[in-house]
């Protein structure tokens, strides 16, 4: 395509030439609205949802166990967290995709798809991060809450699900969503094992068209939209969970609080 001779930077869906910059807005619009990226985005979203759902469910339990008084339990969990926080996501992906079939013959079958491999790898990593977030959220809850529930005759599991978890969740939500946003972007690593998510589709398109910026820009639009949705969701959830908390930070009186574990006001 011949660049326009005009140098004014106004946008008119023709190849525009700003000095030496050429950007084909038609192609960009086609890429954003076209089918390949949309399908890639669906895979990205499905992978993110599956990983976050499963890892969150597991981490709720692991985060609670991390405050166990049994040293072996705490040690096991902290080693797990240490290992998967210390290993690059790319390496975990490659080990699961290439290494696992080498180790376990069952994984050499066709059902072991890139999607499944990416799901396993990212879930293993997410559990490490989410359980760490939840561990600190659980420990932020005033020990008096447990005692209050215990004094009412509530069992440990009732206390956990009805008293501790709702409060810990409120504390954890900003960090959890933050982690989720980072997960959405981490799914792009799965391009290395040829999962046809957003980035893989983008690179395929570039390989045939050599129009880098148009396709990168289109992929960027998708990521930004997904993250924007999550941000809106975060505000909604935070507002919902902060009922009863927003009007006052302290749950006790205005007096300085000498009880350990509660914040001095």
């Amino acid at each position: 395509m011949a660049p326009s001779r005009r140098c004014d930077p106004h946008i008119d869906f023709k190849p525009v030439n700003w000095g030496s910059v050429v950007f084909d807005f038609n192609l960009f619009a086609e890429a954003v609205l076209g089918k390949p990226l949309a399908i890639g985005a669906v895979i990205t979203i499905l992978l993110s949802l599956a990983v976050s759902g499963v890892s969150l469910a597991i981490s709720l339990g692991i985060g609670a166990l991390a405050t166990s008084h049994r040293r072996s339990v705490r040690w096991t969990i902290s080693s797990y967290v240490w290992f998967f926080r210390g290993t690059p996501g790319l390496l975990v992906l490659l080990v699961i995709w290439n290494g696992l079939p080498q180790l376990v013959p069952a994984f050499r079958a066709a059902w072991f798809s890139p999607f499944l491999a990416a799901f396993i790898a990212l879930t293993l990593i997410e559990i490490a991060y989410l359980s760490e977030i939840l561990r600190s959220a659980y420990s932020a809850i005033d020990p008096g809450q447990r005692e209050g529930a215990a004094a009412l005759g509530m069992s440990r599991s009732q206390t956990f699900f009805l008293v501790i978890l709702p409060q810990a969740f409120r504390v954890a939500v900003p960090n959890l969503i933050n982690e989720l946003i980072s997960l959405v972007k981490s799914t792009s690593l799965a391009t290395i094992i040829s999962l046809k998510e957003l980035m893989t589709v983008t690179q395929f398109a570039i390989a045939t068209s050599f129009q880098f910026l148009e396709w990168y820009g289109a992929a960027l639009v998708y990521y930004l939209v997904i993250v924007s949705v999550l941000t809106v969701l975060q505000h909604r959830i935070e507002r919902r969970l902060s009922r009863g908390i927003a009007s006052s930070k302290s749950t006790t009186t205005g007096r300085p609080d000498p009880v350990p574990g509660t914040q001095p006001s």
Binding site: G144, G148, A150, L152, G153, M154, V163, I245, S248
Partner: protein, 250 residues
Amino acid sequence: MTTNQQTAPIVELQKVSKWFGESQVLHDVDLAVADGEKVVVCGPSGSGKSTLIRCINHLEHHQQGRILVDGVELTDQTRRIDTVRREVGMVFQHFNLFPHLTVLENCTLAMRWVRRMRRADADELAMTFLKRVQLSQKAASYPSQLSGGQKQRVAIARALCINPRVMLFDEPTSALDPEMIKEVLDTMVELARDGMTMICVTHELGFAKNIADRVIFMDVGRIVESGPPNSIFSAPTHERTKRFLSQLLH
């Protein structure tokens, strides 16, 4: 040790000892509280008075001796602990209300999940207790929207909701601003007049004189002196009690 022998004691401690690590915080404490009796426990900080009443519903574990509540001995068995906790209501210094639940939900949580009551029944019963502490108009509020005195009255209503036979008060007015202490004490006096068995750790001597059948003075994990409020406050026999009372009155 003065024990009220007219009826079988509802709470009985026999030679109860407890250690926090190396330091012994309770030394062979004997105590029997009769049904309907009001006992005020006082003493300097670190005397073990809070630990003592926290042992009665097993928020703290005692290591030696026996604790019986309504004939049930407290052991480490979870089922026994739960049985005892249903007979014993507790009010804490820092209220320990659940901030994510409304006042009404705070009161009904245990009724619905421990007593397995239907929601409508639980709500109705909770409202009668909230009326009793004069806070029925705050049923839909969250704890953070209440004053300290109101929070403590809600905590009292919440404890009453499980229909306890004994109420434990662990310094219920110590975290309150002075102008809010009275409303909480009034609620407690009313409860006492209704015949509730009460064990209160408090420094409110006026309250003790007004309602206590017996005052117990503790120091370094031992019951030093025990008797009716008049004799303890006007004629303490023990040197440690005299010193403590003189400090409290000045």
